[in-house]
Structures are given as structure tokens and as C-alpha cells.
Subunit: 115 residues, 3 copies
Amino acid sequence: MQLKRHDPGKFLSGAVEANGFVFLAGQVPDDLDQGVRGQTEQVLAKIDALLAKAGTNKSNIVWANVWVADIRARDEMNAAWMAWMDPKNPPARATVEAKLANPRILVEIACTAAK
Amino acid sequence: MQLKRHDPGKFLSGAVEANGFVFLAGQVPDDLDQGVRGQTEQVLAKIDALLAKAGTNKSNIVWANVWVADIRARDEMNAAWMAWMDPKNPPARATVEAKLANPRILVEIACTAAK
Amino acid sequence: MQLKRHDPGKFLSGAVEANGFVFLAGQVPDDLDQGVRGQTEQVLAKIDALLAKAGTNKSNIVWANVWVADIRARDEMNAAWMAWMDPKNPPARATVEAKLANPRILVEIACTAAK
């Protein structure tokens, strides 16, 4: 068994590789002045960057968990998601509402990719 | 690496196969006039159908995430779950409360199965 | 395909092994008189015990989902997490707020480890 960790920090790693999968930590935006769509775009850019570090990409995502601070805003999240997602390779996904680390964080996404 | 996607849609796939696992999208009921037990039965039937498409079945589920719109109704969810689950092969599972896509959706379940 | 289940119960198994991974059920504390830090310590001890039964350990955790009943208490959760986590092997993780099975349960953690 070979584990490989990317962007390790004090509490968590940005991504962990194991047995042909890459597990990403929940990604949140940095610029919290943006709305749901802009925050989602930031999150998806972070996901792209982590997947690239792990040698894979969004076309290989198998599962994503999306948390939105207000479920009524999920159309805005989905607008950013649709513009980003590989239309030939949609992942399995679940979207639910949850309060996130900071009241100004409107969206968080974690995902698992194959590699 | 070989990925296989079932029921691909605009936002997500119903299920994705990779490396000996099948990842299912969060399943929600169609008939929202039913209560928690009936909605859970609908969700579990959808899970059975997706697992069958992916060549596996409920006895091979390794992990399930259950979201209920009201955690106090989890006994009703569990009644449907117990009647459905293979008693010789209970999966690992977590159940938490979350607001779901529509206020009338009372339960959503995502799961991962081996195949 | 070989599945192995640990601590199987009526609704779920404590852990399920499949294809080089161990999937743990959401763990909750037993002594609900404790605060967030003490409850988190209990949860992490249960995770250690289940991982040991499955022949692995916390250094091999690839992913953890933490639910806290009040997101504002996550620093207390993190204090217990930091004291426990293998600093050379931080897992990917997401932490969100959710109402849990009992209003006195303040934290629940599920995780996946490689083995």
C-alpha cells in the first residue's frame, strides 16, 4: 500500500492518493465577497489544481459532495458546476444544505477521483 | 483505469464504476406526497436499480450516507432501511439531518458498493 | 471480491473492508455529558478501535467527514483532532454542521482508511 499526500497542513491534507483513487478535502473559496456562483468557481478551480497535483483531472471524478449554506441557492452553484463539468463524464454527486466553517462561506465541495 | 457511468445527466451520473467500486449519486424520491417511510422505500428501490445496472447489489454496499430533513423522523427511515437491508451484510453508514433540494424531500441516500 | 464486516449490527456495520479500503460508520460518543472536546476524544478512540479490528490505523486514513452540531465549536473538535492525528499523515477531511441523532451528540465522524 502506497499513500501519497498533497498540500499537507496542520489538520488535513488537500488530497490523498491511495489504491487508484484521489480523495480531496472539502474545498472552500478564499474571496468570500463573491456570491454563490463566484465562490463555486473558486472552489472548482481549487479542485482542478489539487487533481492536477495528484496526476488526474475532473473527467475522472467519481463522486462529489456539495454543501451549500442555503439550498435555495443551488441553481447558482449548478450554473458554475455546469460550466466546469466535463459533459461527457458527469460524476455521481449529492448536494445538501449545511452551515459551513464561516457564515460567509456559501459553498464547499469535496470529491473523489480515479487515477 | 476504466470508468463506466450509468444514467448520465446534465449535472451528474446516477452511478460511476471505478476500480472495483460503484459510487451512487444521492437518490431522492419521486412521489413527495409520501411520508418518510414511503419516501425511503422509493429511494432504496432506486438504489437497487442503479446497483443492478452496475452489476452489483445491496449485499455489496460498503458505505451509505443518509440525510433526513428531520432527524427526529429517522426511526421511520430506519423501518424502511431494516426491511430492505441484507441482514447478513450491513454497510457502514452515517445518518445526519440536512435540508434537501426541495422542502418536500424528506430523505436522500448516497452509497458506495463493491463489485 | 472479498468483503469483511466488523461489528455488524441491526442497521449497520462498524466497519467494512473492500478492495484495499476500510469504510467506517459514523462514530458518536457514548458519554454525552462531555463537551465537544471530550466527545471528539471518545469518537476518535472508537475510530482507533475499529481501524485496529480491520488491520489498519489512523496513519492510513485517506478521508474523514466530521459533523459538528454547532460549527462554532469546531475549534474544540480540532483541539482533540490535532492531539490525535498523525502529523505526518493528515487525511483529507471536510467539516460541516449537522443536527445529529440526539441533540446531546455534539460530534460525529466517519472515515475511510487504506489497508
